[in-house]
């Protein structure tokens, strides 16, 4: 038995560390298309102190550490590129709500599922921004990759809603970021001080392990509803989004397109979500949405469709299971998407490319675009299914996604949760001084280069 293994057992207890082939196999992969690479150990710490000890051990032994939430980002961000330790965070599951201050402090492995049900049960008037990833996805990892959720249209990236961090630095010190560094309250991730949260958010665990995170909570209205808007002209979508977001009344706006089912063919479906504390409030918002788009109604270019009340539960569900079901539409157990964050005005070009690549590589496609922050940008997904049992479809999907990423960058977007190859594309285009700064920060924080090596490596 190696020293590292024995020490890890001492740190977390023997039930929570494994070096066996089965765990190494599973933790060496994610559901996406990046090639596997197995860790040497999988460990599940329970406390910040345990995380610290593991990090100190890793520094001493010069082995890599990859923090992992649910591993659902699909782009291989939790695949340990040079082996080492995968740190599965899911046993860190503490939740502490500050009701008056409208924020929650979650430990590093709390899932969206757990927070959602905790709030529903104990604080039904508060909510957080739930992404459509499967519910086992963790709050921290989602913020680490700048995820987006149901409240992103109104409030920005889920990472914009962070209100403080506790981080174990790559060298093992625990560090607090934001108001919680000075006060016992976690209301701000930086302001009015220098905002150091940027040293950790977006870094894919390469600058430390977040052990606790403050997340803003928002009013949970008593009612929600969803409206379905349809147009067949991609070029109108940017303006439709502008008009809808101008109302400042929509909870969320998501535009989808796909060749199947047939009711999707040749049209774009926009799901427009609204909330209210009374039927009157909802009705007012419905009317505002109608009024905002009256021009296209008159010109017959678009209109709202009735939504069967029997369809609403699945459309209103958070997260949306339909997003996950996409993985099985070709009965192959897989899909992946490249999801650039992009100017909304590029919607028509992106859709065109999406379809072009699908036909070039003979792939089934879909796209969902979520409006970010009142219309400053969108996340546009180029999603393709593949069959896990058919390497050829996997290759084709991978190639299509690579091309989509290049295209998205050329058209002014920035790749979201980029895989290694996409990170390289981004860094190649990055302002050289910015790139240098990135490298300096990384070197400063992680002198031994142990944290999630391979990612954001500015050469």
């Amino acid at each position: 038995m190696s020293d590292i293994y024995a020490t890890l057992q001492e740190i977390v207890g023997k039930d929570y560390v494994s070096n066996q082939a089965e765990e190494r196999y599973f933790y060496g992969r994610d559901p996406g298309l990046m090639p596997p690479h197995e860790p040497d150990y999988v460990v599940m710490p329970r406390t910040t102190e345990e995380v610290q000890e593991i990090i100190r051990l890793a520094n001493k032994e010069k082995v890599a550490v990859v923090p992992k939430g649910a591993g659902l980002s699909l782009t291989g961000l939790v695949i340990p590129q040079i082996g080492g330790i995968v740190m599965d965070m899911k046993r860190m599951e503490g939740i502490e709500v500050n009701e008056a201050g409208r924020y929650v402090i979650v430990e590093g492995g709390v899932t969206h599922a757990a927070l959602k049900s905790h709030l529903q049960k104990n604080y039904p008037h508060l909510r957080h921004s739930i992404p459509d990833s499967p519910p086992i996805a963790t709050i921290v990892a989602n913020a680490v990759i700048h995820g987006q959720g149901r409240l992103t249209q109104q409030r920005g990236f889920n990472s914009d809603m962070v209100s403080g961090l506790e981080v174990v630095l790559p060298t093992g010190e625990v560090c607090r970021i934001g108001s919680c560094a000075v006060s016992s309250y976690w209301f701000s991730k930086g302001p009015p001080m220098p905002d150091l949260s940027g040293l950790f958010l977006g870094w894919f665990g390469t600058t430390g392990v977040i052990t606790r995170l403050g997340m803003k909570l928002y009013p949970c209205k008593k009612m929600r509803d969803v409206m379905l808007y349809i147009t067949d002209r991609a070029e109108l979508i940017p303006d439709i989004i502008r008009k809808l977001s101008h109302t400042e009344m929509m909870e969320d706006i998501v535009v989808s397109c796909a060749p199947l089912p047939l009711r999707f063919k040749g049209v774009f479906n926009m799901l427009v979500y609204i909330t209210g504390d009374s039927e009157e409030e909802l009705e007012f918002k419905r009317k505002m949405a109608w009024d905002a788009l009256r021009e296209y109604f008159e010109s017959r270019d678009g209109g709202f469709m009735g939504v069967s009340p029997y369809m609403k539960p699945s459309l209103l569900a958070m997260p949306s299971k339909d997003t996950t079901r996409f993985a099985d539409v070709s009965k192959g157990g897989g899909f992946e998407y490249s999801g650039p964050i992009a100017p909304i005005e590029k919607y028509p070009q992106y859709v065109k490319k999406l379809e072009e690549l699908a036909s070039k590589y003979n792939l089934f496609y879909s796209s969902a675009a979520r409006v970010i922050d009142g219309g400053h940008s969108m996340m546009f997904s180029f999603s393709y299914t593949f069959n896990r049992a058919d390497p050829d479809t996997m290759n084709r999907a991978k190639t299509a996604l690579d091309e989509a990423a290049e295209f998205a960058l050329d058209e002014g977007g920035v790749i979201w949760k980029p895989n290694l190859n996409e990170q390289r594309m981004v860094m190649e285009r990055m302002d050289p001084n910015t790139l240098k700064l990135l490298g300096k920060i990384k070197q400063l924080l992680d002198p031994n280069g142990i944290m999630n090596p391979g990612n954001w490596e500015a050469k």
Partner: protein, 349 residues
């Protein structure tokens, strides 16, 4: 090519112009009605073609069976007038397009058509269907396509309907009980209006229910309730079936309340009015209809069409009136349960 059997001379001689004068949604005096209708007949542009709510009612109002509504739809399409937004029209056309998937049960010479409405799978059970339950057809291949009357797409109907009829016949069906009266209307009104012959006999499901209830007479416990009947657009194609409503109500001890918006004067569910004319008009129509039911003291609102059910069910529930489909109402009378129930409020907050 299939052509509408329309007789210009009937309209020329018509004094009443009931088609337009009685219209619930456009308000013409007799003279303007005549002028506007002549424009439609002569293929000129008319306000009618733009303001028509596509409620099908004029098919019932015309005493000569001259198919004024079908003519409106033809003319709208000729002129490229879109009653509903184009993408919604496209969506409808694509969604119901035949794809070669024949969803059939163990079909016999007498069969039921579920149209393309899954609700009928829920409704068509129990004793009322005990001798036919398995013999059903469903889906695009058997879809009557009448819905395109709302979208100025008679061309789609002309194109698809003969094939649909052929598909039904190919199943060896001789007698088809139509659960959606839009199908029955298509086969008994629309098809003959275009000279399409039917190789099978369509039966309205009300007739089936009526016959079945008579057989089960001993099991009927009169319901003794007051109901408002919700008449739907396709009922206008087949007013001759309306008596079954009263016949059935008579058998099961139900009182059809007297109200302003019933029979010829009925208001439609307005869901397609919402899509085509906007929410103001739709809300007004729905509100008038609901207020009228309340005023008349209805305990139940009885639906014929699952489309109306979907668009109205939640609003009916809010008034305190109980929504129920006609089939379910008959089931209650023989001690069975309501199968199609209002949705749970979908909140997910």
């Amino acid at each position: 090519m299939l052509e509408l059997k329309f007789d210009k001379t009937k309209c020329a001689d018509c004094k009443a112009v009931s088609c337009l004068v009685k219209c619930q949604y456009m308000h013409f005096d007799r003279d303007t009605a005549r002028t506007e209708w002549q424009k439609v007949v002569n293929g000129e542009d008319s306000q009618v073609l733009h303001d028509c709510a596509t409620c099908y009612s004029c098919e019932e109002y015309c005493p000569f069976g001259n198919h004024p509504f079908y003519l409106i739809v033809e003319r709208q399409e000729e002129k490229g007038i879109l009653p509903a937004p184009r993408p919604i029209t496209t969506m409808w056309i694509n969604q119901c397009q035949p794809i070669g998937r024949f969803t059939v049960g163990k079909v016999e010479e007498k069969a039921m058509s579920f149209c393309f409405l899954p609700q009928f799978g829920i409704l068509a059970g129990g004793k009322l269907f005990e001798d036919i339950a398995w013999s059903s057809i469903f889906g695009q291949e058997f879809f009557c396509n009448a819905v395109y009357l709302h979208f100025a797409r008679m061309s789609v109907i002309r194109d698809r309907l003969p094939k649909v009829i052929e598909n039904i016949a190919k199943q060896g069906i001789k007698e088809l009980v139509c659960l959606h009266d839009e199908c029955y209307g298509t086969f008994t009104s629309l098809a003959p209006a275009y000279g399409i012959e039917l190789p099978f006999k369509p039966v309205h499901y009300y007739e089936h229910l009526y016959d079945k209830l008579k057989e089960l007479k001993d099991e009927i416990q009169p319901l003794n309730v007051k109901v408002a009947y919700f008449r739907n657009c396709s009922a206008r194609l087949i007013p001759e079936t309306d008596h079954f409503v009263d016949d059935i109500f008579g058998l099961i001890g139900v009182d059809r309340v007297q109200r302003e918006y019933d029979h010829e004067n009925a208001l439609c569910c307005a869901e397609l009015i919402r899509v085509s004319k906007g929410p103001e008009m739709a809300d007004d129509v729905q509100k008038r209809n609901l207020d009228d039911m309340l005023k008349a003291g209805a305990e139940y609102c009885v639906f014929n069409c699952p489309g109306c059910w979907d668009s109205m069910v939640e609003k009916v529930v809010k008034t305190g009136i109980k929504p129920i489909h006609m089939i379910d109402l008959c089931k209650l009378a023989i001690g069975e349960e309501q199968a199609l129930t209002p949705p749970e409020p979908a909140l997910e907050v």
